[in-house]
């Protein structure tokens, strides 16, 4: 399963009980986000600082992947 269309088709083919479980998952995801949404620093993200650290981590992961 690899596209939204396939996911939707599969959803429609699910037994009612499984559709209910999926609906519950969607509800849980939203409810848990609402509790998390107050976390974090105020304001906008410092994009260049974030990108700089992210690039460093990616480079290290890539190098580690090459070595292994």
């Amino acid at each position: 399963m690899s596209t939204v269309a396939e996911i939707k088709t599969a959803f429609k083919q699910l037994p009612e009980r499984e559709q209910w479980k999926l609906a519950e998952w969607i509800q849980e995801t939203l409810a848990s986000f609402e509790t998390l949404d107050t976390d974090g620093a105020r304001g906008r993200e410092p994009v260049s600082a974030v990108v700089s650290i992210v690039r460093k981590v990616k480079r290290e992961r890539r190098e580690a992947g090459r070595r292994s």
């Binding site: 906008r44 974030v50 981590v57 990616k58």
Partner: protein, 145 residues
């Protein structure tokens, strides 16, 4: 049809760490199921590693609950298998795994702040877009379910 996207670590870190920016808004739309977030095991591990590093290295970081956020994001994203391909990225080869994840999941969008990813424009037909552009795309799509 809902958009399908792979979230680059730069967006994940920004969305978890800061609540007033566009990256947080992307996560908010994910919670509302306005798009499908796809992930592979490599990408999930990269999200975790980068968030942890930024939490420790960036003095402006204020989210002590970042592990809870990563759990939420993994739970909210649809897991896909990796595909065994080697992708060459013109300017910045370090981002291969992100492109690979997007290819593996047949994603339409890679959402990123990293200019090296954005400059690729459409590798393998996948559009590299900023959070701002992606928000605009998702808000224009009226799909439900």
């Amino acid at each position: 049809m809902k958009p399908v996207a792979v979230l680059d670590s730069s967006v994940v870190v920004a969305g978890i760490g800061w609540r007033g920016g566009e990256a947080r808004e992307v996560l908010r739309l994910l919670a509302l199921r306005r798009f499908v977030s796809a992930r592979t095991s490599w990408l999930t591990a990269e999200w975790a590693e980068t968030v942890e590093r930024v939490a420790h290295e960036e003095k402006r970081w204020r989210n002590g609950n970042w592990r809870g956020w990563l759990d939420w994001l993994s739970y909210a994203s649809v897991p896909f298998r990796e595909i065994p391909i080697r992708v060459t990225v013109r300017r910045d080869p370090k981002d291969d795994p992100v492109v690979m994840s997007a290819v593996a999941t047949r994603t339409q969008f890679m959402v990123a702040y990293d200019p090296d990813l954005l400059d690729l424009e459409k590798p393998y037909g996948i559009a590299g877009v900023t959070p701002r552009k992606f928000l605009s795309i998702v808000r224009q799509s009226r799909s439900t379910v």
